[in-house]
Symmetry: C2
Subunit: 338 residues, 2 copies
Amino acid sequence: MAHNISTPTQALSLADIERLVTRVFRVNGCDEANTAALTRTVVAAERDGALSHGLFRVPGYVASLRSGKVNGAADPQVAASLPAVVRVDGDNGFTPLAIERGIPALASAAKKLGVAALAIRRTYHFAALWPETEALADQGLFGLACVNNMPVMAPFGGDAPLFGTNPLAWSWPRPGKAPVTCDMATSAMAYGDIQIAAREGETLPPGCGIDADGQPTTDPAEVLAGSLLPFGGHKGSAMALLVELLAGGAIAEPFSDEAGAADNGDGGPVRGGELILALSPEMLAGDEWASHCEAFFQRFAAIQGARLPGAARHKMRLDDATREVNSRLLDEIEALAH
Amino acid sequence: MAHNISTPTQALSLADIERLVTRVFRVNGCDEANTAALTRTVVAAERDGALSHGLFRVPGYVASLRSGKVNGAADPQVAASLPAVVRVDGDNGFTPLAIERGIPALASAAKKLGVAALAIRRTYHFAALWPETEALADQGLFGLACVNNMPVMAPFGGDAPLFGTNPLAWSWPRPGKAPVTCDMATSAMAYGDIQIAAREGETLPPGCGIDADGQPTTDPAEVLAGSLLPFGGHKGSAMALLVELLAGGAIAEPFSDEAGAADNGDGGPVRGGELILALSPEMLAGDEWASHCEAFFQRFAAIQGARLPGAARHKMRLDDATREVNSRLLDEIEALAH
């Protein structure tokens, strides 16, 4: 979100941000449980400097509450229907409350069985994935999560969109430290960044997308009318396909193209299943697992120029100063509180 | 392996290949069970046209048998030590027999629990990963496998090797059809292809590697003296790190740099743990899972230019004609049979 630097900003404390979004969600039809879960998600993103998943998403959340697509009073139900699989029916709500209710059962199953999965259905995901994988890492578990979304990306070699930007995230626990966390879209560039580049009249780096005729282009407006492309050619495309299958086919949730076709276009998230895996390194590898991995992370850190995924975000987390919020966005959100 | 086209070849039937490698493994100290498992692995690779994992690997297998590093009479033991985790102790053998013994228990656990893992320790992996993930797909299960290897690749931004080329494979079952299978190194280019490019005096595409000073180079000899690079920048690098953690840290097996440091340099595989996950779409998604996914694959196939991963290999599999084998390689392997 380097784009924001040149636009006017306003300093808010995290407590101010929390109060603002709490009011916005309440006013727009969320009950207390959903308001609290959504607010935690937005504030965590702003705290960590993950601006594209914080306040930036609030207008979209509100649009889907106002259109009636998403149930602000959703009451997600947890069912452990298979020994190693926890299911949550999200009751057509946003995903954060479903995640918060499902994670304890998933963690419990993984600690008992060694590995377990959480399948979240009938929800709308519009946030980063690291809150859920880090919640598992906080309990000493490896967590991996993926989710489908709006179909805006072509498979490698293809000329039309089929995949979402299909993010995949994982966290590796480091007792006493922030986990190693990777949370990445499988697209070469984030959708929001392409939208902003189009608004600002910027040119994209090569390889980010194709136009409506399937031809490579660096014009962000043409990419938005055509297709984004996966990162890393055919390998990144295979990762996007893997996410489609795990978050869609594996749990009887829509593929991204089905979700897009069924959506009302209100600007909020489309329906998208989420699959979360948890694995206990302590149970699989024994007592020495943490020191074995910590020594590896030290060797990693000793390599000139190498950075562990998530480190920049975790550093930002420790900064309890105010956050600079885009003034136009802030005005827009404040208007939604009435 | 397009490199091979200009070199002399000799036509062999798959039965001829099977007889040849059976003799080679027997003569070099493998017992019947290991000979059969290794031969199946090599023949399957040649059958599918996966030349870099077929006969090409035989001299390396033999080198590790002759050096005494790998136990040709290994008797891998299966233990289901946690409800959702099957462990195999590979007894310092090559991995194929350990896989063949562990997969039935893994499949059984996944069908009962929904999801399960197989942790293979104390083995030497020198083959493709799709044989194991496709063995799971043949039983209607999603399978994912990963393995560490020799440290030859720098993390993104780094100037020295730490990771192996860390492959990751997965297969999605399609009842009555070959599965969708992706088996990919997390390096931008395969190590063997860089070796061949060096031998032939070729230049690499940009982005494949760095020299010993950490500077980008397209000279394959300089990359071999320096480091390979991950595919897809920081995202591919994070995938390589994920493989290190799952195949090493999660199951108390060596990280690639530890495996490299402990190896005797005989030219065969280094010790490397393997983690395999299995998930039952039928149990998680219900009876409609296959038709839901099949309709998606049809929409995928309808996109001009898009190809499902593994399709070229599965087409080659159906061809029961002879295979063209590099004559120099064939001479080398025949010499190993005495």
